[in-house]
């Protein structure tokens, strides 16, 4: 088992989800055996989620109207003049980021470039990362106790992804209970995560915009991930349930979502 000090710099990227697979496995292995580091990760993760959850309230302070006017005027004043300011981030910085930026989730953001094709991950890696997000989001939901109505979820999908969608009608007949939805980060892009419970079992439906994947069902991390594509959107349904049940749920969702 690696000692705690050797993993010190990996803890924050691990908590943030900005860590490569090999390092993540190292930390996972260590945490299973080290109660102190497990507690440290739990504490850091709790604060991270707390700050992010409260961010809209913390960031409530706004610039005054007079400052807006002054800054708008600065644009006109600056035209044609010279100045020395730091150059924009060179591309090398972004390239160095890619290995770190894997599965940071639970982050409410708008915008961002999509790297699914660029990173060229296998469907197995994609399924594993989404399964990790599935587990994390449900753990967080259990703590926060949030519950969204269907209309709120549909509104959020439209606002965040420009996705005019309608959740499956009569989901309860399938034993599905809507839990909620949240945007997650994947690579440097944003994906939709809709959470259900199926007879009490967590079920996640991820939607990756502007992404195409071949249809498949992947057995990963003790879960089944059913992948399919409609137009330029890829859908991934993740649950612990048995393959026949996964196929049934995926068919039901597929029929309703476009």
């Amino acid at each position: 088992m690696p000692d705690c000090d050797s993993l010190d710099l990996l803890v924050t990227p691990y908590v943030d989800g900005d860590i490569g697979d090999a390092d993540r496995r190292r930390v996972d292995d260590h945490l299973r055996l080290c109660a102190a580091c497990h507690s440290r990760v739990a504490a850091e993760r709790a604060v991270r989620e707390l700050v992010r959850t409260r961010a809209p309230e913390l960031a409530g302070l706004r610039a005054s109207d007079s400052l807006r006017t002054r800054c708008s005027a600065a644009a006109a004043a600056a035209r044609g003049q010279r100045s020395i300011v730091p150059a924009a981030a060179p591309p090398s910085w972004r390239a160095r980021l890619v290995p770190y930026a894997l599965a940071a989730s639970l982050i409410l953001v708008v915008g961002g470039a999509f790297l699914y094709q660029a990173t060229d991950k296998s469907t197995g890696v994609l399924a594993a990362e989404l399964t990790a997000d599935h587990v994390k989001c449900f753990a967080m939901n259990a703590l926060l106790g949030t519950h969204d109505e269907a209309r709120a979820v549909e509104g959020a999908m439209l606002a965040s992804f420009d996705w005019q969608m309608h959740l499956p009608d009569h989901a309860e007949r399938m034993g599905l209970e809507l839990v909620g939805a949240r945007p997650c980060l994947y690579g440097e892009g944003k994906i939709a995560h809709i959470m259900y419970r199926h007879r009490g079992q967590p079920v996640s439906l991820f939607m990756l915009p502007r992404t195409a994947r071949r249809a498949s069902v992947v057995d990963v991390l003790g879960h089944e991930a059913s992948v399919w594509c409609v137009g330029n959107r890829t859908f991934v349904l993740v649950t612990r349930e048995a393959r026949p049940e996964v196929d049934r749920l995926a068919s039901f969702v597929q029929a309703a979502l476009r």
Partner: protein, 185 residues
């Protein structure tokens, strides 16, 4: 940098996107300067520099991060001019100053209670009580959602130091908020 004649360097789209970050920049400026009038001057100066150098911004990169970098650089230069370095802290000194163990063997329950019970004012107070270096790192990462590399550029510190400050900042926040809990319960 001068734009080609007849081609203004500040396009309306660039101007609009840049000005959309004004609230975030003002909050960052206020944390640095602590006086609203000084914070406003810093933001205005930041925009003047940004608009004058609009042609040096690399499309496709993060404009907000670029503006924050200008803001922090401007604040550092001002502090240097005043021979009072309020921004550019000595990384090693900061790390040593709070070299307490990040973990104190906390059981699972406090994390769940922390998430459920901590209100924004308590969290804001806890953030305000953090040393500047840690508060900036946590804020830029968890509120403004910048990457480690972007924060490193803004604060002119190595990425490892950014991660370390975020980690220690979160650990200090956890300890601080846990101390508050019995009072709030």
């Amino acid at each position: 940098m001068t734009a080609a004649k007849g081609s203004p360097p500040v396009s309306p789209a660039f101007e609009a996107e840049a000005l959309a970050a004004i609230d975030s920049l003002y909050r960052a400026a206020l944390r640095l300067m602590r006086v609203p009038a000084d914070a406003e001057d810093l933001v205005q100066d930041t925009y003047l520099k940004a608009f004058r150098a609009a042609d040096r911004f690399e499309p496709g990169t993060n404009l907000r991060a670029w503006l924050f970098t200008i803001l922090y650089n401007t604040a550092r230069n001002r502090a240097r001019d005043r021979a009072r370095d309020a921004v550019d802290v000595d990384s090693e000194l900061v790390e040593r100053a709070t070299d307490a163990p990040a973990s104190t063997g906390v059981p699972e329950t406090p994390e769940t209670l922390l998430l459920r019970d901590t209100l924004a004012p308590d969290l804001q107070a806890a953030l305000d009580a953090l040393p500047d270096a840690f508060r900036q790192a946590v804020w830029l990462r968890d509120v403004e959602e910048f990457s480690y590399a972007e924060i490193a550029r803004m604060l002119s510190i190595p990425i490892g130091t950014v991660m370390s400050r975020i980690s220690r900042g979160r650990a200090l926040l956890f300890q601080h908020l846990n101390r508050l809990r019995p009072v709030n319960a």
